[in-house]
């Protein structure tokens, strides 16, 4: 349905997006995962025809979006990262305006606005000014503004940044509903691994402007199929212990976390005894030790050596 071909964007000699190839099938929910500055927003801006790529193309049903931007604009709903609304207007007025620019009018427009408000759970607050809303409510209206014309493709750029867990959960449920019940194709960008894991069938992992891995969640996790993670929680940080474990050839990767360590080790390796002995040598008190199955976060760590939110 939608694909990018060697998409590239260069700003002042630096490639913000470098030869990105991705595709979305109709009705799919695809995640674009990567840390801040990975090039996710630039990629979706090029897909949405907001900025022109330096090279490459975006194709919708085989047609170049660069040459025919209106083709994608008709079927695309975009939820920007920022709250792109008019705070001095009510939620109803905001949605009505965004519906009107897509050609909706009269009774059909009012009906559609009410449907969207119902979907977002904001029917009761529709006559309140957006500036009086909480962050989570603003985020919901921000999504609603992209849904009025019932788009076939919904692109969401980190739609849950800076909101409370309850609103976040509501938004994720709404996106899942749109994808599963309405058959909307979703491209969801985030640096929250758990959101992408919860919502998306397939995932593209981006870093430094490039897609470094892609596939279904299971496919990606299978990158680490020969490995497992040991999470060691301690009373404080012990730099000497870290150094010793890093030097151990049996441990593939040692990552410092808050008051603890994450060790990537070959699956089935019996290293727990070794870890306890080393901790004792450095006077470290281990409060908890867990052997984890790999997550997308671990995959990202494995691929880049960095955490998603570094």
């Amino acid at each position: 349905m939608l694909e990018t071909e060697e998409l590239r964007k260069v700003y002042k000699g630096t490639a913000a997006v470098d030869s990105v190839n991705l595709f979305l099938e109709k009705g799919e929910s695809v995640g674009l995962l990567g840390p801040n500055g990975a090039g996710k927003s630039t990629t979706i801006s090029m897909i949405a025809s907001l900025i022109a790529p330096s090279a490459g193309d975006v194709r919708l049903n085989g047609k170049s979006v660069l040459k025919h931007p209106n083709e994608i604009r008709k079927v695309l709903g975009i939820v920007p990262q920022e709250i792109a609304l008019y705070p001095e207007l009510t939620a109803f007025e905001n949605l009505k305006f965004f519906g009107r620019i897509y050609g909706l009018k009269g009774e059909a427009l009012s009906r559609r606005v009410q449907e969207v408000l119902k979907l977002l759970g904001l029917e009761d607050r529709q006559k309140d000014l957006v500036k009086t809303y909480s962050g989570g409510m603003k985020r919901r209206i921000n999504i609603g503004a992209a849904l009025l014309h019932q788009p076939e493709i919904l692109i969401m750029d980190e739609p849950t940044v800076g909101i409370d867990p309850q609103s976040r959960s509501y938004i994720l449920d709404t996106v899942r509903k749109l994808n599963e019940e309405k058959g909307m194709t979703v491209l969801y960008t985030s640096h929250y691994m758990e959101e992408v894991e919860r919502l998306c069938d397939r995932v593209y992992i981006m870093d430094h402007g490039k897609v470094i891995a892609s596939g279904t969640k299971d496919e990606l996790k299978s990158i680490l199929s020969g490995e497992e993670a040991i999470l060691v929680e301690m009373d404080r940080d012990y730099p000497g212990l870290v150094k010793e474990l890093e030097a151990d050839e049996a441990i593939l990767q040692t990552i410092e976390i808050d008051k603890g360590l994450k060790l990537i080790v070959p699956k089935g390796s019996r290293l727990l005894g070794k870890i306890f002995q080393a901790a004792e040598r450095h006077g470290a008190q281990i409060s908890n030790i867990t052997v984890q199955v790999p997550t997308l976060e671990d995959v990202f760590l494995h691929l880049t050596g960095r955490k998603l939110r570094d």
Partner: protein, 366 residues
Amino acid sequence: MKSIYLHQWQRFRRAPMLVVSFFLLTVVFVFTLAGFQSDDKFTVLAFVKEGSSDQAAEEWSDRLNESEGMFFDLREEEEVREMMRDGRTNFALAVGDSDYRMVVAAEDANLITVESYTAQVFREEFRLKQAEEAGGENIREDIQSSLEDPVLTVTTETIQGAEGTFVYDNQIQTLFGMTLFFSIYTMIFSLMNVTEEKRTGTWDRLIVSPLKKSQMYIGHFLYCFTVGYAQIVVIFLLFKYGLGFDLGGNFPAILIVVGCYAFAIVALGTLLMGLVKSSQQLQAVIPIVATAMAMLGGAFWPIEIVTNNIVLFLSQGMPILYALDALKSIAIYGRGLADLAQPLSILILFGVVCMGVGVNLMERRG
């Protein structure tokens, strides 16, 4: 375009303070600086001299009131003397059948001027009467027609132009100057909605909609134009009908000039938006540009009194100069649209160039 235009009005309805404040500022400034001078003639109290006829006094009063600077108010002698006793007037004129007398209660700076003018009128009238008595029955008509169609016209010119071509009307100067000046703020600040939309991301939302960019720009420009145009016209109407300002007899021509000016200012705002990087910068630039333009373009004082060649040269680049020139031509000199082709063409050309460059710069910046 229509949805963008109507949307701006909806936003205006929710936040009208900006436009309303500049509207009120204009009214206050014009009213304070020129509103109290709707009858700027100096009033001289007069009464009929004892033993003289009322009719003769009235005739003298009519003759004296041909003055552009003085108004002779003929009242009862008792009333005038009462006012002099109360100190409400320092002197008065007692008008006789063929003479007059100044009745002075206290020294007054205007006394000499009034007396000199009165003496001149009486002298002229006596001369005319003498000429009539000498057989020239139609002497008054002959003199009048000779004045209207002189055999010989002497024109004195200075380097700046024909002497006597500049008529200064404080009311008109203040009304036009202040209204056009404050409307710059209204229009360009309203245009800041575009930079604000770009900052908040709603502009991007509009770009990915089926709307064309040209429709988005035109919707905004049209709104700013309408707000500025309406502000200027409402203020002109308010002072014309509310306070009796004389704007001449060709109001439709004034509407056309205002339209050209509003277009030029919206275009200037577009250019400024293209030149600056943020709405904060634009907020800082607007007062500088507006005030400089008003000072150089003759909004605060008539450009006709400026003699500095550099200032006069710079003023040529200010749209407000051409708008004021055109408006004063209509209101003071009674000229029609045909005489205003040059200033109006310059305003439109200025607008087209600024808008073209401004939109181009904004689009390049993205």
